[in-house]
Structures are given as C-alpha cells and as structure tokens.
C-alpha cells in the first residue's frame, strides 16, 4: 500500500528532495547563514491525526459531504478535506481508497507557503498545531498543493475563491455547532455510519506510508460476518 508520489522515500518526494538539495547548495554557495526561521525550525507536531480503515468504509460519502458542510455550509465532493474514491467494479479491498491529511511531522505544505511575514498555514498552538490554511492569508499560489508528496494531494483547491484549503481536524468549522479540532470533535469520525475513521493524539509512524491505515473492525463487524483481519 503506497500512496506517496514517488518511491524515493515515504516521507520525502523526489521533487521535494531536489528542491531542498538545490536550496541548500545555493545557500552554501552564496554564503548565506543557514539558520532557518524559528517557525520552520520548531514546527511542533500536530496534536491529532485521523486514521482510516480501508477495508471497512461503505462508500456512502457521508464524511466528505459532512466535512464540506461543517466547514463551508455547502455539500460538495470537491470541497471535502477527506476524499473517498471508489470503483464500483473493483475488487475488495481495492475498490475503495480513503485519504485524509496526514498532519505530517515535517509538513512540506507548511514549508512551501511563501506568504510573509506570517505563513498562511503556520501552525498555531491554540489550534493544537494542526496543519491548516488561513484562507484570509492564502494568496492562491498553490505552492502547498504542489509540495504535498502524496496521491491524491491532501490540500484542495477551492476554484470558486481561488484559494487552498485542507483538513484542519475541524478547528475552523463555523457550521459544526460545537468545538472541533484536536481538543474537540472531528466531523468525519462522528458521522461515519460504520466507524471507519478514528482520531488519535499519537503520531503515526512517519517513516511508513501505511501507518494511517488501521483496523477498526471489532467484534460487531465479525458478528456481521465480515473479516476482521
């Protein structure tokens, strides 16, 4: 199971590796002080992560629609921060693919944001250090989209306002009606009819692509006659 864009490393794509190597070489050649800005140097880890069970999802799209509704008041696939792809003619378990933002420890999307002096997606302790995008600051350059190393890209492009958006674990959900984020609830986990999405405060293994795919099938699932393996 591998949804990273290329095989150089599960964490760092070839494009991103070349970008970083190039930038490092240029800096050294130019005699630039390699001290990095404080917010990059000390990117605190997110206080929450979403995990999914690829073998359990029933493909109802409720998580996608609810995600878009709680964030923007509009039901939509395109505006959903969680994406479910399915192929009706596919073979289980490959007939469904669920993707959520990984809230990367070393988040390329945050690194890439050129907005200054404060990045549009800077991590903020008051929001549990979630990697999120402040659309009031976003300039629509798509750097975050281009630098996400995963397929499909975990950052969405809202073409109607020409800005990026991404999963914020429901920190900024004006239509949720209760507190979201790492200290609150995550809409997708609450509405999923089969509990195929869960929330954890423990950071999944960043060296493995499949560490966000978990087995959420318990005794009830087995009693329904479906595999829990």
């Amino acid at each position: 199971m591998d949804d990273s864009r290329d095989k150089l490393s599960p964490e760092i794509s070839r494009r991103r590796f070349l970008q970083l190597a190039g930038a490092y070489s240029f800096a050294v050649a130019a005699g630039v002080d390699l001290l990095v800005p404080g917010e990059l140097l000390a990117m605190p880890t997110s206080e929450g992560y979403l995990l999914v069970d690829l073998k359990k999802c029933q493909g109802c799209g409720t998580c996608m629609m609810a995600c878009a509704i709680t964030h923007s008041g509009v039901a939509s696939y395109t505006l959903a921060r969680i994406q479910i792809q399915q192929d009706s003619f596919g073979i289980w378990p490959d007939d469904v693919f669920m993707v959520t933002c990984r809230q990367c420890e070393d988040a390329p999307c945050v690194d890439a944001c050129p907005v200054a002096p404060v990045k549009a997606n800077r991590v903020r302790p008051e929001f549990g250090n979630v990697r999120m995008i402040d659309q009031k600051l976003c300039i629509g350059c798509k750097s975050c989209i281009e630098n996400c190393p995963f397929t499909p890209v975990r950052v969405q492009w809202d073409f109607s306002i020409r800005k990026s958006q991404k999963c914020d674990l429901c920190v900024d959900t004006p239509h949720l009606g209760e507190k979201g984020g790492p200290g609150g609830i995550q809409t997708c986990t609450k509405v999923c009819p089969v509990n195929a999405i869960s929330f954890t405060k423990i950071m999944p293994d960043q060296s493995r692509v499949d560490s966000y795919y978990v087995n959420l099938r318990g005794p009830a699932w087995a009693k329904l006659g479906m595999t829990t393996k």
Binding site: G59, C60, G61, T62, S72, F89, I91, P152, Q156, P193
Partner: protein
C-alpha cells in the same frame, strides 16, 4: 433569494434537435423535487398525454433529484427518481416511475442540475456528456451493443478519468474535451446512467443501470431510452449545494446515528427498526466470502449491498440475487456453488440492463409450461433454450440474452408477459395463478394482494407494483419471528399503536386501518391506510427521495419507548427537509404535497384513458385462494379477532371478493374527491389544491369527473 438544497436549474435535453437548455428550478419548486417535479415537467412538456407506450417519440422521461440529494440526510442523499410513460404493462402502459440509488443524483447536483428532462428522439445513437454546465451530445455508435458495465468503463476512458481508486485530483481542464475555464478538480469518477442490450432492443425488461448495481428496473425505462437512441448520460460535477441550516442538518444526522441506530459497542443485531440497524446487506444468498464490505448509496446510514474480493456479485442485492434461487437450489452441490451461480447471474442481469423482477414469478411459469410440454424445442411455444440445464449459469445467461435481445421466447415476452400469455393461448394461467402477474401486467412481489392489502390496493390504484415498504416490514419481521422461533419483541396491539400514532392526517390513532382481517378488508379504514401510504410516498419517498427500505421508521426497539424516527422532532423527515431547504414544513405538509402529486399523476392516467372499469386485479386473485407463500408458509399480520383483541394472524387461505373490492374502490374514490363513477378527478378537488390548470385540460379532453357523491 438563495434556493437552498437546489442547484437551481433543470437540464432539458432535446434529443431531436440535439440541443440543451436550462429550465429555472424555481418554476417547479412547488412540487418539491423528484417525482413531483418530474410529473409537473411531464405535464408541461409531453405534447400527447394520451400515449400508452413509452417507446412513442412523444414520451417525455425525467431523471430527477431532490433537495436532499448530495447531502448527509440519512438514507436520502443518493436516490434518484425516473418518470415517464412505461413499457410492457397490461392492458396499457401508464405514466409511471422508477427509482435508483448510488451517486448519480449527487453528482448531477454538484454539476449544477436538479434534474434532466429528456424529450424527442435522437436521429442516431448518442450519449450525453455533462461536466458542470457544459453539455455535449456525443456519438454512441461505439457504445451501442455494449453491456452496462463496459459502457460505463468505456465512457470513463473516453473522458480521461483514471481507472482504479488511487488517483490524483483531475483538473476538468485536463480531461479529454475539457473546459477552458478553471472549474475545479475532482478525485471522483463520472457517474454514468446507461442502458444495456435489453433497453437497446426496446424490451419492457430494459432497465437503467448506474455503477455495478443501481438500477431503475420497473417501468421499462431502458426501452424508453433505447427508443430515443439514448445510450447513456455521464455527469461530472465539481460544485456544491448550499444548505440552509448546516448545524441543524449535522445535528439531526448525528442524532440518527447516536440515538436511533443500534450502538456499535453493544449492538442489538435483531433490533426491530427500518432505520436503526447496522449495515446488513439484503443479498439473498450466503455471502461468498468474509472478505467484503457493505456498500451503500450516498448518505446512507447502513448500506444494503456489498462488494467482494471474489470478483463477482458487486452491488447486487435483494431481488437480483434471488430470482434464480429456487432453480439453482436444485442443481447446486454446495452452498458456495449456490451463491456463486446466483451472484454470477445477478452480474449478467446488471450487464444486460435487464429487469429480473419479471423472472421472480415469471420463471416459475415458464418452467411450468416446459414441464407441461407446451414450451421447448419443437413445441407449441418453440424454444431452443437448454431447459434441462435450468439452474445453471449457462441457462441463466442464455435466458437473459434471449429476453434482452428478442430472441427465442424473448421475441414474444419483450412487449409484456401478459400479452405473451394471451398470444400463446394461456389465458387460463391468468385465472389459475400459474402466471402471477397481479396488477397492470406487473409481477407479484412476494407480498400477495390477497393477504397484504395495502400493497395490492396501492399497486392497482397506482401505476405499477407499488414497491413501497412502509408497512410491509410488519409481515417480514413477524413472519420471520414465527418461522424461526424468535422473540416477538412488539405485540400486535402495540405494533399497530406505534404505527397509527404517526399516521396523521388520515389515520392518526385509528388502529383499525391496519386490521387486515376478513371483516375489515374492504373498509374505509383500509382505504385511509392506502391513501396515507400513497401520499406519504409520493412526496417523502419519491420526491424528497427518502429511501424506501429505511423510511418511514415507525417503530424502533433501539428506543426505550419503541418510537422510530419518523415524524420525530429531532430526526423526523421534516427536520431534514427544513434543515436543507430552509422551509418550515411538517410531516403532514409533505403528505399533503404528496396528495397533490398523486392527483397530478391520476390526471395523467385519466388522459391516457384510465377509467374505474379498467381498475382490476389479475383474475387469479379473485378466483383462487392464496395458499403458497414466496417467503414463508404463512402470512402474519396484526388483526382484531371477533372480540376486538389484536393478534398476529395468518392471512393465507383467502381470495379477493370482486364485489367487495368494487365497493372499496368507490370508498377510495370518494375519499380522494374523485368521481366514484369514473375515478376521474373533479374540478372542485383540483381547485382546492390550486390545480385548476389540470381541471382545465381534463375538461378539454372530456375527462373531468362529475361529482363525488
């Protein structure tokens, strides 16, 4: 003013001119959505409402969504309604309906359309490519002849949608024939609705199929599309639907999961409820493998289908997986083989776009004819099908191919099974019940009208096998409990009380409406029950598009007071409708709108030629007793005994009384405000519903009812 829940436009496809235009949804807003809007569009756009064969070029077909589609309303987000004049019924084909699930209606709304109005006939085979506001008529000569699955996959390829499920976002500009403007990106595949060979060959069995197993079967709409040279409609949308009160919508959705649905941690696997179970696929065979998932329509609270690791059977459920069962059981050497044959034949049905429902009772009849020596090689009804291999995949496939392509016996059966029976000189089979096609040339559903009155009466007063399970779960739940020695969790009197407390405005707190005993079967009370079901369904199920299998939720053993979600202040149908649209309607308001839609439909039937003299069941229902059940050896239903005590009672062993049913029709027509002499609507009734435009057209046709007394 924002039109919450609606996309705002209806797409009109003029196939004759290969032009499209947009109709303002606001003009049809009074009809709610789905069926209501479809009927109103049919009324306005069908130039000849006297037609009785859906293959007539004047026929108009509407594929309609609801404001709730594409949202998280539980088991309402993904249904889609189809209306138009049907094919293959008897004695004529009425203006009728069908319904399918999946993700088509969601995608259509996200593309900016509340429905599709199809008029005219294309000069050659076409498919229609919808990507947001861009609508292109494309040549379908390369698709004609292909099965429904191959057609969908080929359209994905033609558009440039990536196969599989691990794809990146696709920019609509980068797809083949893509737009020049930035219309966003999607990870989703186009949703395609298509016909297969059964529709192309204009057979009454022709279905519309979407994805692997979503089908609009009844009505023969596959033949309607085939007659219009319309192979498929593909839609891809990147927009969204604005919701009036998102917080209320999410709150109600969570209330259903957390309150009305059984708890995952300590589940009640045998909960008595329609809405509140865990995903329990209604596949009628043992699962082929534990390596599978439940699969559902968009927004569903508990999926009723499955996808498997074995490579067959994806998304087929219920009838598709049982039509062949009695025959397979005779040849299968193991349970695994039984499953495999049934599911492989379900796949064949889906691929041919064939409505297998006719075979549920129809294949028994064909076997009977074969055993009688009438049907077969060199027989009076010639057939080269390998009847000795009935029950095998080989026979199943050859049968479906013949019926889909007008070959062998398919040549006669393509235009209607009752018509074929008459042509073959088998009129007596309609009297003995050897051919159980109960109403309007439609097959009996397993819920015999002699026992389950609301099913039969609702079908014959309507346009087809009603296939509305509002009350039917009483039979299946109670009969299964008796059959398998399970606990009766709700006794008869309580069961009836739980239903009628929610049955305003016609039957609230009138338990007698559910009494199907011999003494009550032609009563005003049962007429009120049928009215409630028809009106409720015309709006809440067929226009708002709540799923027939999940709603209404009258009783629910997950609740301490046993009361289901229907009409409840925290998760009733009206709560969801209002949260999405911003309306402030009640459950009863919806039923009243359903009454108007039902009246509009009846007006169309009257213009097609309906008169009460035509409204009869098949003769066997009057002439023979109901003695053999499809599912159980008894038919349990709550009835009052002679002392007025409620008991679950077996309704087998009786027949319908023609005079009694005629009397019941008169009562029903009077309650509806229709002329009891003809069954035609009256001006007074129509004007009270602000439908004088209907009265005017009926009057012009000389078919306006004269009075109600």
């Amino acid at each position: 003013m924002a039109l919450y829940g609606y996309a705002g436009k209806i797409l009109h496809l003029d196939l004759t001119g290969q032009k499209s235009d947009a109709i303002d949804t606001e003009k049809y807003r009074r009809w709610g959505g789905g069926h209501g809007m479809g009927s109103a569009l049919f009324w306005d756009f069908c130039k000849d409402k006297s037609i009785t064969d859906g293959r007539h070029p004047a026929n108009v077909c509407c594929v309609m969504t609801s404001p709730l589609n594409g949202t998280v309303v539980p088991s309402a987000g993904g249904r889609c309604e189809v209306v138009g004049v049907g094919v293959g019924q008897y004695p004529v084909s009425w203006f009728t309906r069908s319904n399918f699930g999946g993700r088509f209606s969601t995608m259509l709304k996200y593309a900016g359309w509340d429905g599709i109005l199809i008029t005219g006939k294309a000069p050659k085979a076409i498919w229609v490519d919808i990507r947001n506001g861009k609508v292109v008529f494309r040549d379908a000569s390369g698709l004609w002849g292909k099965g429904t699955w191959a057609t969908q996959q080929e359209i994905w390829r033609l558009i440039g949608a990536e196969p599989g499920t691990r794809n990146d976002w696709q920019d609509l500009r980068d797809l083949k024939g893509g737009s020049d403007r930035d219309e966003g990106k999607t990870t989703q595949k186009p949703a395609v609705l298509t016909i297969g060979p059964a529709g192309e060959n204009l057979t009454g069995h022709g279905s519309l199929i979407h994805d692997a197993g979503n089908g609009a079967g009844q009505g023969g709409f596959g033949a309607v599309w085939g007659s219009k040279n319309l192979k498929a409609i593909s839609v891809l949308g990147t927009g969204g639907i604005k919701v009036a009160d998102p917080q209320a919508l999410i709150r109600a959705r969570r209330t259903v999961k957390e309150k009305y649905v059984t708890n995952w941690e300590k589940p009640d696997f045998r909960a008595w409820t329609r809405l509140g179970g865990l995903p329990k696929p209604i596949v009628q065979v043992a699962p082929p493998t534990p390596d599978r998932r439940p699969q559902s329509c968009q927004g569903c609270i508990n999926g009723c289908r499955e996808r498997y690791s074995v490579g067959y059977g994806n998304e087929s459920a219920c009838q598709e997986t049982s039509w062949y069962g009695p025959f397979v059981r005779k040849v299968a050497k193991s349970r695994a083989e039984d499953t495999e044959i049934n599911l492989r034949c379900a796949d064949i049905v889906q691929k041919y776009g064939f409505n297998s429902f006719v075979l549920q009772t129809g294949l028994h009849w064909l076997e009977h004819l074969h055993e009688e020596g009438v049907l077969g090689k060199g027989k009076k009804i010639p057939s080269d099908l390998p009847w000795e291999k009935i029950g095998t995949v080989e026979f199943g496939e050859k049968l479906i191919v013949a019926l889909s392509t007008r070959k062998d016996i398919g040549a006669d059966l393509a235009d209607g099974w009752v018509q074929a029976a008459l042509k073959w000189g088998r009129e007596k089979d309609l009297r003995t019940g050897a051919l159980q096609f109960s109403y309007w040339g439609c097959p009996e559903h397993g819920y015999d009208p002699r026992a389950e009155l609301e099913w039969g009466y609702g079908s014959i007063m309507g346009d087809r096998d009603t296939n509305t399970h509002c009350f039917n779960q009483i039979f299946t739940t109670i009969s299964a409990a008796f059959a398998f020695g399970m606990t009766i969790r709700i006794e008869a009197e309580e069961m009836v009380r739980l239903h009628v407390r929610k049955m305003a405005p016609y039957a609230q707190d009138r338990p007698e409406v559910l009494d199907f005993s011999d003494a009550n079967m032609y009563s005003e009370a049962v007429a009120q029950l049928v009215r409630w079901q028809q009106h409720y369904c015309r709006f809440w199920k067929q226009s708002a598009l709540f799923c027939d299998l999940k709603w209404p939720d009258f009783y629910n053993t997950n609740m301490p007071n046993l009361e289901g979600a229907t009409g409840s202040p925290d998760a009733g149908e009206q709560v969801f409708w209002n949260a999405v649209t911003g309306d402030r309607i009640s459950l009863i308001d919806g039923i009243e709108l359903g009454r108007r839609i039902w009246n509009l439909d009846n007006a169309i039937w009257v213009l097609q030629g309906r008169h009460r003299d035509m409204v009869h069941f098949a003769p066997y229902l009057y002439e023979t007793k109901y003695e053999k059940g499809e599912l159980f050896p008894f038919y349990m239903w709550p009835c009052r005994d002679e002392k007025g005590v409620w008991k679950y009672t077996d309704l087998m062993g009786r027949k319908l009384d023609k005079a009694g049913f005629e009397k019941w029709k008169t009562v029903f027509y009077r309650l509806e405000g229709w002329d009891p002499a003809s069954g035609w609507p009256t001006r007074q009734t129509l004007e009270k519903m602000d439908m004088s435009f209907v009265a005017d057209e009926l009057q012009k046709a000389g078919r306006l009812g004269g009075g109600t007394s």
